[in-house]
């Protein structure tokens, strides 16, 4: 009863703050509708996702903030004593700061995820960035609350600065990597699956980009891990995404060779023809390929040792020309090539009455080619890798897959064409390489021509 009596007398003391509270609330509600409608219209015209995030996160809390504002104004117009007004104001301000901070945290999380997901940033980078934003907001919020309630700020600020310095020292190696990782992905310089070539000559496919390092599988099959900071400082050639993968990888081998002396020699044509019938294929192979190997850097002259000797030591220029013009590329086996050489010499002998003798010291010495084949670490899984490896393999490797594979190991054609057709379905490219007569090019030219043919397909 006493309260009712008090209200009868002092109803204005209550009515004014309540009316002010309700007035502020309804006016704010109206203003919120106006402003949010305008904002939605503006965002619709620009088709931006950012505004949608802001609206969805802040629409409800905005109402709560207006309630707090209304309560604060009502408190200020009430007849309460100044100390009560101050205390109530601080409580309301504290609620507002906490609530606003919480919404800011939600907004920052949404923004970070939105932007970094768009750039396909690794999840770890997103998590770290979100955490940094949240901690920053919380720290600022706590500092504001402490300031509001009159806490001593100097020691707190000192502790805070010290903590930041310690954090920078502890994470000094991580931050540049983090930034570099962010840059790498954001600028889309490299992506997982890309074949890249570094300034240092390393080449390989990107396996993974983490927030500190990038993992590359080299053409030799090794895994190298490069800090993102270093990667950002080097020149990278990006050959792009992996094309069609072969059914089976092409395993590059290399061929080194030894020259075995047979102790056999010839000092005239009859002896040469006679020995040619007896010697092993490896000897015929040596003497039809040694000039190409020895002088491949200098001249594409596809001659053979028999032609050279017949000219230099015996002086039979016409026979030398006939022997040199035997097209090695035409013969599927060393045996068939041998028969051709013997036939040419015997034809010539049949028309020659006086045989010439080589001057002493200029006899023809029969040498046997011993090939030693070793697997290299290089394996191509697709055409792009094939080209990259082709650029770096030794002349011995190129020689093995082109020359030895066809004639000495009696495969139908060179190894490259076989793989391109059977494992990659590149029939036309395979045929074009098969049609190349390798005996008419220097080895480096041959390498370049095959690379160019492959690059046209990429």
């Amino acid at each position: 009863m006493a309260i009712i009596d008090w209200l009868r007398v002092n109803w204005l003391y209550v009515a004014v703050p309540v009316l002010v509270f309700l007035g502020v609330f309804f006016v704010s509600l109206w203003l919120r509708r106006l402003s949010y409608n305008a904002l939605e219209g503006w965002l619709k015209a620009r088709k931006t996702e950012v505004g949608k995030i802001i609206i969805s996160v802040t629409r409800k809390p905005f109402l709560h903030w207006l309630l707090i504002l209304g309560a604060y104004i009502a408190l200020q117009v009430s007849v309460l004593g100044p100390q009560w007004k101050s205390l109530g104001g601080k409580i309301l301000a504290s609620i507002f700061i906490a609530y606003f901070g919480w919404i800011l945290i939600r907004l920052s999380r949404e923004f970070v995820q939105f932007y970094l997901n768009k750039t396909k940033t690794p999840q770890r980078v997103i998590t770290v960035t979100t955490s940094i934003a949240q901690v920053t907001i919380i720290v600022i919020g706590v500092l504001m609350l402490l300031e509001l309630w009159g806490a001593p700020m100097t020691p707190i600020l000192i502790v805070l600065i010290a903590a930041i310095v310690v954090a920078i020292l502890v994470f000094r190696d991580i931050f540049p990597g983090l930034v570099s990782g962010f840059q790498l992905t954001q600028q889309k310089q490299i992506k997982t699956g890309d074949l890249i070539r570094l300034e240092s000559g390393e080449e390989g496919r990107v396996e993974e980009i983490t927030w500190r390092n990038t993992q590359i599988k080299t053409l030799e099959g090794n895994i190298i891990i490069i800090p993102n900071t270093k990667l950002m400082q080097t020149t990278i050639t990006n050959c792009g995404k992996q094309p069609e993968v072969a059914k089976e990888p092409f395993q590059f081998s290399t061929r080194l060779h030894l020259k075995e002396l047979t102790g056999l020699s010839a000092s005239n044509l009859s002896q040469l023809a006679s020995s040619l019938k007896e010697i092993p294929d490896a000897v015929v192979y040596y003497h039809t390929h040694s000039f190409i190997e020895e002088y491949q850097f200098l001249t594409p002259e596809p001659t053979n040792d028999f032609a050279l000797w017949v000219q230099d030591a015996l002086g039979y220029d016409i026979l030398a020309e006939r022997l040199a013009s035997i097209d090695t590329f035409e013969f599927p086996t060393v045996g068939a090539l041998r028969q051709m050489i013997i036939g040419v010499i015997q034809d010539f002998l049949a028309q020659t009455s006086n045989e010439r003798e080589a001057p002493p010291g200029n006899e023809f010495h029969f040498i046997k080619s011993i090939s030693i084949v070793l697997p290299t670490p290089y394996a191509a899984h697709d055409l792009q890798e094939f080209v990259s490896i082709l650029r770096r393999i030794s002349i011995g490797s190129l020689y093995f897959h082109i020359f030895e594979a066809r004639l000495r190991l009696q495969r139908v054609t060179n190894d490259f064409s076989l793989w391109l057709e059977e494992c990659l379905g590149e029939k036309e490219l395979a045929e074009r390489i098969t049609r190349l007569d390798p005996y008419n090019y220097t080895m480096e030219n041959l390498r370049e021509i095959i690379i160019q043919l492959c690059e046209k397909r990429l």
């Binding site: 290399t254 030894l258 020259k259 020895e294 850097f297 010495h365 030693i372 084949v373």
Partner: protein
């Protein structure tokens, strides 16, 4: 191991893939020990090659060791006679001298530590060490660095009884091959592009050496670098120079030294000095062992480099000249035609007159000389650098057990 030598330093010269292949082979030799034995640690081509080859192979991870045989001066006089006789020189050798050779070998058999899996014996001096094979087994390879295409029959018969017990022999030229019941490989020797004798030199360094020996920088320089040995025909070089000098202003430098296993070189040097006396354009330089920078500078300063040998193993001086992109005039003997493809990587000759004719062509046509020089350098890069010799030896060590023509390792 020589800390200066680094396999990686050869990458810019021969390419990365070449060095990668060496490493692949070295890995396959892991666990094997190779023992080199020759007659001297200093002087002559064999010691020079081994002093580079052994540390490089060690650096690649191959356990390669090097020992020398020891002997009195009299022993080395006999081995020099053997050397000359194997080169085809008429050199009578008495039974006592053969006995001295065998006695010294016997002493060395007891002194040398033969621990290793492969014994790599260089040249005739230590060739008889093979008698140890019956006691210790192992694989034995005889590396013959000299020209034995026309050996004295008596001396070859003496040596052959040892050579046939080896598992394989290695020769520097196909025409050194003999009818032997063992495998014979062909592996030309090589030079080291990074050694003092072959590395790049500044023009100032070259000028300093020319000044040291009182040579005129502005006068075309014909050079022959070789030991003072009759088989190198220094007198023939002087004759060829005299023929050329009638029409061309030029100077001749005969630069050489002596090796501890060559007691004859002093006599030859004296003969050459007497022959050149009175001609101020002929410079006879007796250069002590170890003066590699001086030799390098002389070769770089030369207009033409000669090697007018009567017999020759391989002639590494020609390889050095070609590597410096110099036009060369050389006799078509021994291993020289392997390096000098006539009119492509240099000029070959068969006589004093032929040498003079070739010299005139180059002196009169500097562009032609430069073209020959460029080709020669590329030829050496591909076939006669130390990395290729290392590769050949590693391939031999790895394939001694194999008899196939195509071997998959």
């Amino acid at each position: 191991m020589n800390p200066k030598i680094n396999v990686k330093d050869y990458e810019p010269i021969v390419g990365k893939s070449y060095i990668e292949e060496l490493r692949m082979l070295a890995r396959r030799l892991s666990g094997k020990t190779i023992l080199n034995i020759n007659s001297t640690f200093e002087g002559g081509g064999v010691a020079e090659i081994l002093s580079r080859l052994v540390p490089l192979l060690n650096q690649l991870g191959v356990d390669v060791r090097w020992q020398t045989i020891s002997g009195e001066a009299q022993f080395f006089k006999v081995t020099k006679k053997l050397h000359n006789a194997l080169h085809g020189k008429d050199e009578p050798i008495s039974d006592d001298e053969f006995s001295l050779f065998l006695e010294t070998t016997e002493r060395n058999l007891n002194q040398i530590d033969f621990s290793g899996d492969i014994m790599f014996i260089h040249d005739p001096q230590p060739a008889a060490l093979i008698t140890k094979k019956s006691d210790i087994g192992k694989k034995w390879i005889w590396r013959c660095h000299i020209d034995i295409s026309h050996p004295d029959a008596q001396v070859w018969r003496f040596l052959e009884q040892f050579v046939t017990n080896y598992d394989a022999a290695v020769f520097s030229s196909p025409n050194f091959a003999q009818q032997l019941p063992i495998r014979q490989f062909f592996a030309p020797p090589s030079i080291d592009p990074l050694s003092d004798k072959n590395k790049e030199l500044s023009p100032e360094a070259v000028d300093a050496v020319l000044a040291k020996y009182g040579l005129n920088r502005d006068k075309p320089l014909i050079l022959q670098v070789s030991r003072f040995d009759r088989l190198k025909d220094p007198l023939g070089v002087i004759k060829a120079f005299e023929l050329v000098r009638k029409n061309f202003t030029c100077q001749l430098v005969l630069a050489g030294g002596t090796a501890s296993d060559d007691p004859e070189s002093g006599e030859v040097l004296q003969e050459v000095r007497e022959r050149a006396a009175g001609n101020s354009d002929i410079h006879i330089l007796d250069i002590p062992p170890g003066s590699d920078i001086d030799i390098n500078a002389l070769q770089r300063a030369a207009t033409v480099i000669m090697q007018k040998s009567l017999r020759e193993g391989f002639a590494l001086t020609i390889t050095e000249a070609l590597w410096k992109a110099k036009p060369v005039v050389a006799s078509a003997v021994g291993g020289i035609p392997l390096q000098v493809k006539n009119r492509l990587t240099g000029l070959l000759c068969h006589s004093v007159e032929g040498a003079a004719y070739a010299l005139r062509q180059i002196l009169a046509n500097p562009d032609y000389g430069r073209w020959l020089g460029r080709n020669g350098r590329e030829h050496v890069r591909q076939h006669f650098l130390i990395v290729r010799e290392i590769r050949d030896y590693m391939l031999m060590f790895l394939t001694l057990e194999h008899r196939e023509d195509v071997i998959y390792l």
